[in-house]
């Protein structure tokens, strides 16, 4: 192995990149291109498509279900992300304080994030059951309702129920990531500001939040990205129903593309998510830049 061929950085670099490169090009870059192309064809399962230009996109814009799925996706992403951020930051601040059994608590807080979403969604499915829901049982025993709530049966109630399940899963991720950010803030800043007479509220707004902004930007970008492209929670809980009220773009793309067989239309729908994802990525990129700048990192 000591020949000059293998000592050349460029050759060796290429060789080392080979396994990752082949897998990523074949199963990531190529499908990304193929998916874009499919979006402009009328491909069906078992039949190669013909180029039909922007017909799929024109159809989708005129399709009320597709428009509803865009609305649902935006609603789901916005509401869930805002609440995940607020609750996650609150939980992070709580966990950053002095607590008994701190590391144990921190460990079990993350459980909703690590168990398979499809499986925890089954638990929510049962909690939201129209006849045997434990929430309805408790509320009716307390005398607050007289009829069981049909959580997944009414459009708006279903939207809110799936959003709640998504928040449940996402809060631990946001909280634990922000906690890691909180722990990098030097305690001396808090001591100095409290000597200057700052209240805890002022400390939060003027010390914690500004120093945490870069990591918030990154964490929330990931959170928005995963919520926007969510699939399994909806697929398990409602499959898009009732009356398509909970269809996200990903679940509709699946329904049209795989069981429906309209590969071209499904791919077009999936590709419509890309502009939104690019916006999120740009946001993350500038968040990262700002972070490097704050640490005096320069161009990195």
């Amino acid at each position: 192995m000591n020949s000059s061929f293998f000592d050349n950085k460029n050759t060796l670099g290429l060789l080392f990149m080979l396994p990752a490169g082949v897998l990523l090009l074949l199963f990531l870059t190529y499908p990304l291109g193929l998916g874009t192309w499919l979006g402009f064809t009328d491909a069906k399962i078992g039949r190669a498509g013909e180029w039909i230009g922007i017909e799929n996109f024109q159809f989708l814009i005129g399709d009320s279900v597709a428009r509803l799925s865009l609305f649902n996706t935006l609603f789901y992403t916005t509401v869930a992300s805002v609440l995940k951020f607020v609750l996650g930051l609150w939980l992070a601040l709580i966990l950053n304080r002095r607590l008994p059994f701190k590391s144990f608590i921190r460990a079990i807080v993350l459980l909703p994030f690590i168990v398979p979403t499809a499986l925890s969604a089954i638990a929510f499915w049962w909690i939201y059951d129209s006849q045997f829901s434990v929430v309805s049982w408790t509320l009716s025993k307390m005398g607050l309702i007289d009829r069981y709530i049909d959580f997944l049966g009414e459009p708006w109630l279903a939207r809110l129920s799936v959003t709640a399940a998504n928040i449940w899963r996402g809060v631990p991720f946001v909280a634990i990531s922000l906690l890691a950010g909180l722990q990098t803030i030097p305690p001396s800043l808090y001591e100095a500001s409290s000597i200057d007479g700052a209240t805890p509220w002022q400390q939060f707004w003027n010390v914690t939040l500004p120093l945490l902004t870069p990591i918030i930007a990154v964490v929330m970008t990931f959170s928005v990205l995963f919520t926007f492209t969510d699939f399994q929670l909806i697929y398990v809980l409602t499959r898009g129903g009732p009356l398509n009220a909970t269809h996200l773009m990903a679940t509709l793309a699946f329904q049209r593309g795989i069981p429906g067989g309209a590969l071209g239309e499904g791919a077009a729908l999936a590709m419509l998510m890309v502009p939104f994802l690019l916006a999120a990525i740009m946001f993350s990129y500038f968040g990262l830049q700002r972070r490097a700048w704050q640490q005096g990192g320069g161009d990195k």
Binding site: L34, S120, W137, L225, F231, L263
Partner: protein
């Protein structure tokens, strides 16, 4: 970070009632909500069907615990096969990804070949491409390669989201290893391969564990590819098998569904409990880098 350096040096000034209102009660509510679905999973999976369907009984407790649902799951469904598939797929795709990621991270971070910066950046962007925009074209590719309805379809496609993550994480770890170690070895006549195997990898073991644990749980939890690329029951993974095979028409076997969810969650939960710190540092490391 130890408790002493926490950003709460003035907390002894707070009175106990105030601590209850601002700290313990909110924390208690958070913990209750976050853990309740798990409690509910356990309760439901040990309840008999009569108890499950009774509106009179207190649903929070079990009068007569039963193992019926587990018995049905393990002996009258293909659950053990799904469990085996999931283990096989997760282990293999994790190892393939770690292997590819170690080489890639070393090349990008240490060999500094021409274009390595751009390659590093594109790996980061690859991490941001979600499976739900790729599954339709990937289904076609998998079909063309003759992998459709085979566990290999998943073993080979899972690395697309595992490699970017692992590479990114390991790049961060390699960056912390001093260059001098490598230079000494080069002067002593070691090849790059020897340096990677004998110097870098032993020093990067924590990073390898973080990346490995995280990759394993990600592949265990994967759903959309497994749902799309696999059609026959004996090749399914646990999450997809439970969702698609245990629901017969309109009859929901809640006990068996919950038992399936519980058994399918336990392996990752146990693995996680042994490696909490590695897992957390993997998760936050990927976010912070």
């Amino acid at each position: 970070m130890s408790d002493k350096t926490d950003a709460a040096g003035m907390e002894y000034l707070q009175s106990l009632p105030r601590r209850w209102v601002t700290l313990y009660i909110p924390l208690g509510v958070f913990m209750f909500v976050l853990l309740f679905p798990f409690y509910w999973m356990v309760m439901t999976s040990f309840k008999s069907n009569e108890e499950l369907m009774s509106k009179a009984a207190n649903p929070f407790w079990i009068v007569k615990p039963t193992l019926d649902h587990f018995e049905k799951l393990l002996f009258r469904t293909e659950y053990p096969q799904w469990l085996w598939n999931t283990i096989l797929i997760s282990v293999l795709s994790t190892f393939i990804s770690l292997f590819a990621a170690v080489l890639a991270a070393y090349a990008i971070e240490r060999l500094r070949f021409r274009g390595s910066r751009q390659v590093g950046l594109s790996i980061f962007f690859a991490y941001l491409v979600p499976p739900s925009i790729l599954f339709i074209p990937l289904a076609l590719i998998v079909f063309k390669l003759g992998l459709f309805d085979s566990v290999w379809a998943l073993i080979l496609t899972y690395p697309t989201f595992l490699i970017p993550f692992c590479t990114w994480l390991l790049m961060g770890y390699f960056r912390t290893i001093p260059y001098e170690l490598e230079e000494c070895a080069l002067i002593d006549g070691a090849t790059r391969w020897q340096i990677l195997v004998k110097i870098m990898l032993p020093l990067a073991v924590p990073g390898l564990i973080s990346a490995g644990i995280f990759a394993f749980t990600l592949s265990w939890n994967e759903f959309i590819y497994a749902l799309t690329f696999i059609s026959s029951s004996e090749n399914k993974t646990v999450p997809v098998g439970v969702i698609t095979e245990l629901v017969e028409g309109d009859v929901y076997h809640w006990g068996a569904l919950m038992a399936g969810a519980l058994l399918g969650s336990l392996p990752v939960a146990i693995l996680y409990s042994f490696f909490v710190e590695y897992y957390v540092s993997g998760m936050t490391g990927a976010v912070k880098e």
